[in-house]
C-alpha cells in the first residue's frame, strides 16, 4: 500500500520508498518523512488534489501530491507491531 491509497486518520508506518515518477524523492526525506517513521494522512484536498500527511513524532505536516504519495510505501502501524 502507498500513502496515495491510505485512509484518512489511520496511523501508518513507512516501510519503503520508490523513486517518484517525476523526481523529487530526496525532498520527501528532507521534509521529515523517513522509512520507519509513523505517519497519518490528516486530510485530502478536493479535485483528486494532494494529501496532508502528519508525522506525529515531530509534529511536521507536509502536503504531498498524488504522484509523490504513490512513492511512499506504508502499512498499517498495528500490523508492524
Amino acid at each position: 500500500m502507498t500513502l496515495a491509497d491510505a485512509t484518512v486518520g489511520k496511523l501508518l508506518k513507512v516501510i519503503g520508498r520508490n523513486a517518484p515518477r517525476h523526481g523529487g524523492g530526496e525532498t520527501i526525506a528532507g521534509l521529515g518523512i523517513h522509512v520507519g517513521e509513523e505517519v497519518i494522512v490528516v486530510r485530502a484536498a478536493p479535485f483528486s488534489g494532494p494529501i496532508l500527511v502528519e508525522v506525529p513524532s515531530s509534529g511536521v505536516r507536509v502536503a504531498m501530491g498524488r504522484g509523490m504519495a504513490e512513492a511512499v510505501v506504508v502499512e498499517p502501524a498495528d500490523a508492524a507491531a
Binding site: E26, A29, L31, A45, P46, A63, G67, M68
Partner: protein
C-alpha cells in the same frame, strides 16, 4: 529583551580603520523563522544583492552590538546541504566557498527532531556555530520542553533560545555568534554507526592529498558529502582524472552501505543522520502529550476543508480587493481634491506654452503617485503581507493543487500568482519556490497576466468608478479565466516534466505588526524611490512631447491599433506606449491625454472596457520584464511579450465586438 537596544551601523558607513569584520551566515530550514530573526537584527537597513553567478538574491546587512561589528547574510532556506534547487545550492556554495566566519543555525524548536538534522550537517562543515533555538513559544504550546544545557553539551556549540517574532534572544544570538567567529572553535560532529564510521575513515585515508584543503572543507566533511553522493561535489571532482580512484572507492562504499542496510544508496546516509537527530531529540527534549485538539487543527478543519476551504479562499480574495477598493477610493478622492484645486489655481485651462505643459506634467506625475497609486497600493500590500505571514498561502496551494493540475499547473504556482496581484515583480521572484524549471517558466509567464495593483487601480478607477463594481468584478473573473486558458496553452508548449507537490504546511502564526509593516514599507519604498520618479519624469516628458506635438506622431503611428482595431480615440496611443514604463502611467497619462479626469464624459462604456482590458493583459511594466529576463531568460521573456500582446489584442477586440462598439 528589547530589540535595537544597541545602535547598529548602516550598510553604508564602513569604518576604514576597523579590524576584520566577521561574516555571519544565517542558515535554516524553510519556515523556521530565519528571516524573521535576521530582520529583527538587520532592522530597516537591510539590502539585497545577487549571489555571484546566480540570480538568487541574498539579503545582507551590517550590525554592531556591544562594541562588536559584523556583516550578516540571510541565506535561502534549505532542508539539507544536498541542494535540490538553485536557491539551496546558493546556501551550500556560500558555506563551502565563502567560508562564513560563523554560522547562526536557526532551528525550529517546535519541530526540533527534523530541524536539527540540518544543524548536524552544518556541524560537519567545521564552521564556528551558534544555534538559535527559535519558536520556543510554539514548542512550549505543543508541550515540548528542551534542555538547553544538554543540547549545548551534545552539539558542542552555544544554544540560545529565541522567539524571533517578539525579538526575544535575538541580540544574545548575534553577540554569541560574533564571539564564536573570533574564537573559531567548531562544534562536535555527529558520530554515526560503526559501519558508516568505517566507510568515512576509509575515504578520509584514501582522499588525494590536499583535496579537502583545496576545497576549503574539513576531511570528514568531504567524506560525508561523498557518501551522500552530493551531485554538485561529484560533478566538480569528476573533472579531474586524478580523483578517479577516490571517486570509485566512494561509489563502492555507497553501494556496500546500501546493500548492508537494504536501503537505496542515496538515502542510507540521510537515514542515519535522521536517526542521529531523533536520538539527539529524545535525549534533550521531553514531550507532554497533547489531549486537546489545537486551535490550528480546528481552524484547518474549515480553511482546508475541500468545500468550505475553497469558499473561504474565494471570499478572502474578494474581500481583499473590496477593502482595497473601498479604502483606496475614499483616500484617493481626498488626496486628489487639493491637487485638482492646485492645478486649477496655478494653471487654468486657458494657459498654454512650454512651461504650462511641463508644469501640468509635473503636477500630474506627483498627483498620479499620491492620489491614484498609493491609496490603492498600500491597503492591498498590507492585506497581502498579512496573508503571507499568517501562513495562509501554502494552505491555498494545497486546496487548489488538484484544480491547477487540470490546467497543467502546480499547486504551489498559486503563491506567485496571488503575489502577482499585488505586484508582478515579487510574483515573478516568487516562482523560485517551484522546483522544476518547467513550472517556473510557465508561472513566470503567467504572472504578468494577473492584474497587479497598478492595473487594479486602472480597473477600479476606470471601470468600477464609472460602470459599477460588478463590471470590475467581471473583468477580474475574465482575467482569471484567460490566465487559466493561457496556463493550458503554456503547459502544452513548455517542455519538461514537473515533480508533484511536496510542501511544508507551517502552523498559523500571528505575524508581529512590525514585521508586516516592514514588508509593506519595503514594497512601498520600491514604489517611492524607483517607480514614482519615473512616473513624474515620464509625465513631464509627456508634457514636453505635447508641447512639441510629438505625441501626435506616436498616436498617428499607433492609429491602426488604437483606432482601427480597438475603436479608441487616437489620443490614447501615447498612453499605451508609455504605459510600458509603469502601468500606473497609463491612467495618469490617459487623464492628461484626454484632458480630463472625468473619463466617462469622453469615452463610451465600450471604449472604457476595451481600454481597460487591453491595459490589463498587455505587456507588463519594464521592472516586470527585467525580473522575467533574470528568472527565465530572454527567449521566454520574448515568448511572454508575444503572449501578452496577442491576448490583450484578442480579448480587447472580442470585448469591443461583443459590446457592439
Amino acid at each position: 529583551m528589547r530589540r535595537h537596544e544597541a545602535p547598529a551601523s548602516g550598510p553604508g558607513d564602513s569604518q576604514p580603520g576597523a579590524p576584520h569584520e566577521p561574516l555571519i551566515a544565517f542558515v535554516g530550514q524553510p519556515n523556521c523563522g530565519k528571516s524573521t530573526l535576521f530582520n529583527a537584527l538587520a532592522g530597516f537597513k537591510a539590502n539585497t544583492g545577487n549571489f555571484p553567478g546566480t540570480s538568487v538574491a541574498i539579503t545582507q546587512s551590517r550590525v554592531a552590538f556591544a562594541g562588536l561589528h559584523a556583516r550578516i547574510v540571510d541565506l535561502p532556506g534549505t532542508y539539507s546541504l544536498t541542494p535540490r534547487d538553485g536557491a539551496e545550492e546558493v546556501t551550500r556554495r556560500f558555506l563551502s566557498e565563502h567560508r562564513a566566519d560563523a554560522v547562526i543555525a536557526v532551528v525550529d524548536a517546535s519541530v526540533l527532531s527534523r530541524s536539527v538534522e540540518l544543524t548536524l550537517e552544518l556541524l560537519e562543515t567545521g564552521l564556528p556555530m551558534v544555534v538559535a533555538l527559535n519558536m520556543m513559544d510554539e514548542a512550549r504550546r505543543k508541550g515540548i520542553e528542551v534542555d538547553v544545557a544538554a543540547l549545548e553539551a551534545r552539539l558542542g556549540v552555544p544554544v540560545v533560545p529565541t522567539v524571533a517574532t517578539r525579538g526575544e534572544g535575538v541580540v544574545a544570538v548575534a553577540i554569541r555568534a560574533m564571539t564564536a567567529a573570533k574564537a573559531r572553535r567548531p562544534g562536535i560532529s555527529p558520530v554515526y554507526d560503526r559501519d558508516i564510521e568505517e566507510s568515512l575513515a576509509g575515504l578520509q585515508a584514501a582522499a588525494p592529498r590536499g583535496l579537502a584543503d583545496a576545497l576549503r572543507v574539513p576531511q570528514r566533511f568531504l567524506a560525508v558529502r561523498l557518501l551522500e553522493a552530493d551531485p554538485f561535489l561529484l560533478k566538480h571532482l569528476e573533472r579531474d582524472t586524478a580523483n578517479r580512484d577516490f571517486l570509485d572507492l566512494a561509489a563502492a562504499q555507497r553501494q556496500h552501505l546500501a546493500e548492508l542496510h537494504g536501503w537505496p544508496e542515496e538515502s542510507v546516509f540521510g537515514s542515519h543522520r535522521h536517526a542521529a537527530a531523533v536520538d539527539l531529540f529524545e535525549s534533550v527534549a521531553t514531550v507532554r502529550s497533547r489531549t486537546r485538539r489545537s486551535k490550528r487543527e480546528r481552524l484547518d478543519d474549515v480553511l482546508m476543508h475541500p468545500f468550505w476551504g475553497l469558499v473561504f479562499a474565494a471570499l478572502a480574495l474578494a474581500a481583499l480587493f473590496l477593502v482595497a477598493f473601498l479604502v483606496g477610493d475614499r483616500v484617493a478622492s481626498l488626496v486628489q481634491r487639493p491637487f485638482n484645486a492646485l492645478g486649477q489655481a496655478l494653471l487654468p485651462a486657458g494657459v498654454t506654452g512650454f512651461w504650462a505643459d511641463v508644469g501640468r506634467g509635473l503636477l500630474d506625475g506627483i498627483a498620479g503617485g499620491a492620489g491614484i497609486v498609493l491609496p490603492y497600493l498600500v491597503p492591498l500590500l498590507l492585506i497581502m503581507s498579512v496573508m503571507e505571514d499568517v501562513g495562509y498561502l501554502p494552505r491555498a496551494a494545497f486546496l487548489v493543487d488538484g484544480l491547477l493540475h487540470r490546467v497543467g499547473l502546480h499547486g504551489k504556482s498559486i503563491i506567485p500568482l496571488i503575489l502577482g496581484y499585488g505586484c508582478n515583480v515579487p510574483g515573478i521572484l516568487g516562482t523560485r519556490i517551484l522546483e522544476s524549471p518547467r513550472d517556473r517558466v510557465i508561472t513566470a509567464l503567467l504572472v504578468p497576466l494577473t492584474a497587479c495593483s497598478a492595473r487594479t487601480v486602472i480597473i477600479l478607477a476606470l471601470v468600477a468608478a464609472t460602470l459599477g463594481p460588478l463590471a470590475a468584478l467581471g473583468i477580474y473573473l475574465l482575467n482569471i479565466l484567460v490566465t487559466a486558458l493561457a496556463a493550458r496553452l503554456l503547459s502544452a508548449i513548455v517542455p519538461g516534466t514537473a515533480p508533484g507537490l511536496l510542501m511544508d504546511i507551517p502552523p498559523y502564526r500571528i505575524p508581529p505588526i512590525k514585521a508586516v509593516l516592514r514588508k509593506v514599507w519595503f514594497r512601498v519604498r520600491e514604489f517611492l524611490v524607483a517607480a514614482w520618479p519615473v512616473l513624474i519624469v515620464a509625465s513631464i516628458f509627456l508634457g514636453v512631447l505635447t508641447y512639441l506635438g510629438v505625441d501626435r506622431w506616436v498616436n498617428e503611428a499607433l492609429r491602426p491599433v488604437t483606432v482601427g482595431l480597438l475603436g479608441l480615440p487616437e489620443a490614447v496611443g501615447v498612453t499605451l506606449f508609455f504605459g510600458i514604463l509603469r502601468k500606473e502611467l497609463s491612467l495618469v497619462m490617459l487623464f492628461q491625454a484626454l484632458g480630463t479626469t472625468d473619463v466617462a464624459s469622453v469615452l463610451t462604456a465600450t471604449q472604457l472596457v476595451t481600454f481597460t482590458l487591453f491595459v490589463t493583459f498587455y505587456v507588463p511594466c519594464v521592472s516586470t520584464l527585467a525580473a522575467q529576463v533574470r528568472e527565465v531568460g530572454w527567449r521566454w521573456t520574448l515568448v511572454g511579450v508575444g503572449l501578452n500582446t496577442s491576448i490583450a489584442l484578442g480579448v480587447a477586440v472580442i470585448a469591443r465586438l461583443a459590446m457592439g462598439g
